[in-house]
């Protein structure tokens, strides 16, 4: 399911009229969607799908769940077409929906796990049963074999960050949003985001420092050492 394949196919380009589509045209596409243009919606989905699924997967650590949540995100975008205000930057809007949907999915996953744990014996493979949450020890489906330990460790560190720090650093560094855009997506002030980003960055650096200074993990941190 997950791959590092190129995002666009020639068909996508044709359908999107992509040569004249750039990041500023999302609002224009959204206005077309509002007018009932299904092709515009298809274009919008294809332009954003990999960014959205990647961000969702950072929270969910399950390619299947990330895709489910991404579908939900786009359906929300579609449902909201009639009230979409072009003044709102599309990128911050869709990232906000993605973060909300991902966090909400995690919460309901935890709730389902709690309920199923009470009501059913473990390992019950009953059809229609509830999906298992991602096992933190399972390799990330987006990460190659040993490429690696480092990505796994960073993922763990991100998981342990307070929610808003994690969201801030993912929006800023992983999705490449500037402070202002990250702040808009999180509906926080720029100083608040600056503070979250600093804390997140320092926390991650602290954990990575053994690796950053020596290029190797200390023995106790590597189960295979």
């Amino acid at each position: 399911m997950a791959s590092e394949a190129p995002i666009r196919t020639p068909d996508d380009e044709k359908q999107a009229g992509a040569s004249d589509v750039n990041a500023d045209d999302d609002a224009a596409l959204m206005i077309a969607v509002r007018g009932g243009d299904e092709r515009a919606f298809t274009t919008l989905v294809r332009r954003w799908q990999d960014r959205i699924v990647s961000l969702a997967n950072r929270y969910l650590r399950s390619a299947a769940d990330a895709e489910d949540v991404s579908q939900e995100v786009f359906l929300r975008v579609h449902r909201a077409r009639e009230t979409y205000e072009p003044s709102a930057k599309f990128s911050t809007w869709i990232y906000r929906i993605t973060v909300n949907a991902s966090l909400n999915h995690i919460r309901s996953r935890k709730a389902r796990k709690a309920v199923s744990g009470e009501l059913r014996p473990a390992g019950d493979g009953e059809p229609g049963g509830l999906p298992e949450p991602a096992d933190p020890n399972e390799p990330d489906p987006t990460e190659g074999p040993e490429k690696d330990e480092l990505a796994r460790v960073i993922r763990e560190i991100l998981d342990e960050l307070p929610e808003r720090q994690r969201t801030a650093i993912l929006l800023n560094k992983y999705q490449g949003l500037g402070y202002e855009e990250s702040a808009a997506a999180m509906e926080l002030s720029i100083p608040a985001v600056k503070s979250l980003l600093t804390r997140a960055r320092v926390a991650i650096k602290e954990r990575l420092e053994p690796y950053l200074t020596t290029g190797e993990w200390p023995r106790e941190r590597d189960p295979r050492a």
Binding site: V53, A114, P141, V202, A203
Partner: protein
Amino acid sequence: MTETPPSPRTCPGTPPLSAEDLVAWLDDELSATDARRVESHVVACPTCAGEADLLRRTGDLVARLPRMTVSSGFADRVVAAARTAPAGRLVTSRRWSFVRTAAAAAVVVAGVGAWWAVSRPGDPGQLTAREEDEIARDLYVLAHLDTLQSADADELARIADDLDVIDAVPSEEGNGG
């Protein structure tokens, strides 16, 4: 998880350089004046120079985390699903919108909240996500009482659907160490 202090390294400068300035400088988010100030500090301060190097590499590593691509046919499935779904009056980012509404109402409830925070057991002063959601939902209902009272069944169903994202589900958040 406990909050990390802004910087574990003590800059010996007077005044010391803040971690926020250092990170914002690395991210190219400072004004020209502030950037020059930080740069000249870093050049002269080995502690901050070392810290800057580690923080820069940390940011690069997060930026280079693997990306995913969706499975084939994803867009077609989404479009097909959207075709059957009616347009709604989606309240996007409800939780954060609610939190904003909550901020306006916070003045009113601050006194009660303070009492509640100290009187409830465990983790005083910090709401769990579930509690936040419940409060946000209640505030939403309060703020939209007129609309809700005059809404017909379809309208109510739509609002209920919109509110599902903050449906109260047990959350383990806020219990972490």
